[in-house]
Symmetry: none
Subunit: 223 residues, 2 copies
Amino acid sequence: MSSSVQFSFIIGWIAMLAGGLAFWQMSRGLSPKQKHHGVAAMTIVFVAFANYFAMALGQGDIAYNGRDVFFARYTDWVITTPILLVSLAMMATDALSRLRTLVCALIAADVYMIITGLVGNLSTAPYNYYWWVISMVAFFVVLGLIWKPLAAEAVNGPNPGAFKTLATMLTVLWICYPIVWLIGSSGFNVISTAVESWLYLVLDVTAKVGFGFVALGAARKQA
Amino acid sequence: MSSSVQFSFIIGWIAMLAGGLAFWQMSRGLSPKQKHHGVAAMTIVFVAFANYFAMALGQGDIAYNGRDVFFARYTDWVITTPILLVSLAMMATDALSRLRTLVCALIAADVYMIITGLVGNLSTAPYNYYWWVISMVAFFVVLGLIWKPLAAEAVNGPNPGAFKTLATMLTVLWICYPIVWLIGSSGFNVISTAVESWLYLVLDVTAKVGFGFVALGAARKQA
Ligand SMILES: CC1=C(/C=C/C(C)=C/C=C/C(C)=C/C=O)C(C)(C)CCC1
Ligand SMILES: CC1=C(/C=C/C(C)=C/C=C/C(C)=C/C=O)C(C)(C)CCC1
């Protein structure tokens, strides 16, 4: 692991920790009915903190098939991306239990996406590309569920504007992940591991800390 | 891996993919309250698709204790069999949340059955037989829960006829798995790996795609 890669992980855990402390502070101002937004945002960044911390210590990767695979990214994502989706769903409605089926479908497709992505990262060419395609299909299912049934619910939800902002943020940021994956060490390997890890860092911080700030900011204004 | 074994895996992923596409089409005709049947059926076959795909690529088995262990069967079953049980429970009642305890008990016994089965497959004789017996006990618990408390709920459920058909199908098909396991490479090894993998294929396709067709067919007629 080069020192630039390791440095990105150190920035990662510091950013996630700082985000978590900020969210803790922000959560105190939430009404009881909105506390779930705080719990989600904190869980997300503290899980990411632990995974970045492990990677910074050199405990989050293994040499496999002649490549350095940062499996800790996937243990992070497989936990945090479902919570991000639940967070978005909580902005779409005040009665999450009514959307049980939809939330289960979102989580199923999302976890499928992350796990097939991990399998791809552990595979050699050309198999890694097959798994990338399978993961992408699951990703499009996630986006379809967000923009069709979930968006339809959000129209009558407590805060259609905040839903739209968060859904757009999520879509734009999440689309970058499969691109980085494809040009990085898991795919064509046309960027260095250092560039790859800085790109993931910027995405992770924006998709978790940035997203949480917007979500908590909107939740604070709700009863 | 012999070519006949590999061919069975290719048929497997094609069948699961085809089943998934058919379920997707069938799900569009479901009423909102019945969509959960579609989500369950699709999740089951798409998870099986990924596992068969991995096995077809030679990524789903490891040499262990001098045997070829297809661990991907277990990563498939440990996810899909709980969903099959939930699917059955959704046919027994319209208010799944009321059966929370029973569903948790079913899933606990079922996951126990699959994991002890995997441990058995990773064990040499005679330990593998000990694990088979332990797994069988869990299996009988699953069957007992289905035919006693769950069947009792189904009598007052939305569709007692469909429940009975599905429960019977499930019982007959699932009983074959421990038999194949016992005569196959995990047990007495009296059938070839090729015969073993074709038997599992027929069982998997019937227990997942066949079961899903019956479940979705019944759900379509419900409000
Ligand atoms: C589609 C696709 C992928 C998608 C990953 C995504 C969408 C990750 C999102 C992570 C977030 C948002 C983390 C923290 O906030 C992978 C797994 C790279 C593998 C290749 C195909
Ligand atoms: C009791 C028992 C087993 C039961 C397996 C079953 C019941 C599997 C069902 C799988 C299905 C239904 C898959 C897909 O649809 C094992 C694990 C073979 C190990 C030996 C003892």
